[in-house]
Amino acid sequence: MSRMELLDPTGERHPVARPRVVRPASLEGLTVGLLDISKPRGDVFLDHLDEVLSGRGVEVLRFRKPTYTKLAPADLRYEIRVKCDAVVEALAD
């Protein structure tokens, strides 16, 4: 099964992105995704964050974009969405 591509039926006045979910009041009982965009040393920052969050008993899942030069693939975005309640993306190097 290959990925499906659809033509946008809208007037295209707004970005395709869907609205963000509400920011959680607490991380208790939640799963947090850490997204490495494959920029150098992003992993250092995320490793530290992983340690801090895991230390507080938060479930942490790690993800990595194939390259920082392109949008995250639809499949990766979907995986993060279904597995995590919140996500932290490390942008800069």
Binding site: L7, P9, G11, R77
Partner: protein, 482 residues
């Protein structure tokens, strides 16, 4: 419509074949002889990459070369020079093949003529796939990728593209197929769609029509309906924004209705017919998606009505004692047309006793009087949908539509004293400032009469309107350009 993007083939002779074609199998020895004669020959095989054996065929099972070369028949034999196709032969004509190749004994032992088979590029459904794959990017619409494990139907709900029911995923292949329904340029602006006043191209109409479930042959009707809806007379912005229940009602006249299989008979205003169901839905999806008109946004309806999903039917012209609605509204007989009406739902009426037109007209008048409110007048239009069994009463009495309308006009004039605000203990009513001793229910041209419905049932139906005329919506008729 040709999407072939130019030929990129080697010089010399190029043949396209498929092993499943008897003519191709027949000419295989000729291709081998041509090769043996030292001619530069390239053979592309559309199915079996080993066929024809000994000719060192190239695998074209992805049909890329065949598509680019515009091959419609196999075998096709071409001669190219400097990248240009000098000549192209389709099927097997021994004389022609020998002339083109200059090999005199090319077809020895073969019949003089055999027709070819259809190229795999013209198999049903394949053409659109290939056009999208190899034809270059013709669409201007933004592309939205759905993840492999994501449910595409849920993805479309989440993006707010639907009217609350599932829609067909608008893949490039489906939209391309939809565009086959019109000769119009996909980038032509079909209408400027309120409320956001977005220029809507034929391509965007096709995207939404595909989502609504239309077949390509419905597209001209959708385009005409959209054009009519987006006129200042019809005022789709107001129809959308009003707190009243109104939505666009599409009434189809002329040969297109039968040609695309619309229902003008039993349950014409109900579910079950694809054209009726999807044309009205496509129009509403365009208003939603392209125009940005959504419930809770610009759509402020207090109740709405189920017809805001779709409300589209054809007039039964064959069985009608009267001229079609579109003809009455100025289009020539035999012209396909849509008439848009701002309708607020259906009020069926029963009269199983009347056998005279006078009695039946009185029933109609009594029921029409209550459109919106029995004491409100002149500002609400209506469509009267007369059933075949009721129409028979008028036909047998020789009543024209004009005659019926005259009768209704007379019956629908109520004494002003009964209609004014406060009369009958009801605060609602017509303003006291209206002149005259009698108040007509409908303004001039505010009552449309059409013939539709099943052959059994002494019922008719009223589609109530919305604020009429220049203050609200005027019915608009447009020709369907096929």
């Amino acid at each position: 419509m040709s999407y072939a993007s130019g030929v990129d083939l080697p010089d010399g002779y190029v043949a396209f074949v498929k092993a499943s074609c008897p003519t191709c199998r027949l000419v295989a020895p000729a291709l081998l002889r041509l090769r043996k004669a030292g001619a530069p020959l390239t053979v592309y095989s559309q199915d079996d990459p080993r066929f024809p054996e000994g000719a060192e065929p190239l695998d074209d099972s992805d049909l890329r070369r065949s598509y680019e070369a515009g091959v419609e028949v196999v075998p096709t034999l071409m001669r190219l020079e400097g990248g240009e196709v000098i000549e192209r032969l389709e099927g097997w004509l021994r004389m022609d093949w020998e002339r083109l190749t200059g090999v005199a004994e090319l077809g020895t032992g073969l019949p003089s003529y055999r027709a070819g088979c259809g190229s795999r590029t013209v198999d049903p459904g394949i053409r659109e796939l290939l056009a999208v794959r190899y034809g270059g990017d013709k669409f201007r619409s933004r592309r939205v990728e759905v993840a492999q494990l994501e449910d595409e139907f849920e993805a479309m709900f989440e993006r707010g593209w639907t009217d609350g029911l599932p829609v067909v995923p608008p893949t490039p292949e489906r939209v391309l197929r939809m565009l086959e329904g019109t000769d119009r340029d996909p980038q032509e602006v079909a209408a400027v769609v309120p409320p956001d006043l977005v220029e809507c191209t034929v391509e965007k109409v096709a995207v939404n029509a595909a989502m609504a479930g239309c077949r390509p042959e419905y597209l001209p009707v959708v385009l005409a309906a959209l054009e009519a809806a987006c006129t200042s007379e019809f005022n789709i912005h107001g129809v959308l924004a009003t707190t009243w229940s109104a939505g666009p009602v599409v009434i189809v006249n002329g040969p297109v209705a039968e040609r695309i299989g619309m229902n003008a008979g039993g349950n014409a205003l109900g579910q079950g017919n694809r054209a009726n169901s999807t044309i009205g839905r496509a129009l509403q999806l365009i208003v939603r998606n392209v125009g940005g008109g959504r419930p809770g946004g610009v759509d402020r309806a207090t109740h709405g009505n189920p017809g805001k999903h779709t409300f589209c039917f054809a007039e039964d012209e064959r069985g009608s004692p009267w001229e079609p609605l579109s003809v009455e509204r100025g289009l020539p007989v035999g012209t396909s047309a849509v008439t848009l009406f701002a309708g607020s739902g259906l009020q069926p009426l029963v009269d199983q006793q009347s056998r005279t037109p006078e009695s039946l007209a009185r029933t109609y008048a009594a029921c029409l009087q209550v459109v919106a409110h029995p004491k409100l007048a002149l500002s609400w239009d209506a469509v009267l949908v007369v059933s075949p069994e009721h129409a028979r009463v008028f036909r047998e009495a020789g009543w024209s539509k004009v005659r019926l309308r005259e009768e209704l006009d007379g019956l629908l004039r109520r004494p002003r004293a009964e209609m004014v605000r406060g009369a009958g203990g009801i605060a609602e009513g017509t303003p006291g400032s209206l002149a005259g001793a009698h108040v007509p229910k409908f303004r001039q041209g505010g009552l449309l009469i059409v013939h539709a419905g099943g052959t059994a049932g002494m019922f008719s139906a009223i589609i109530g309107g919305w604020a009429s005329g220049t203050v609200g919506s005027e019915p608009v008729t447009r020709e369907v350009r096929e």
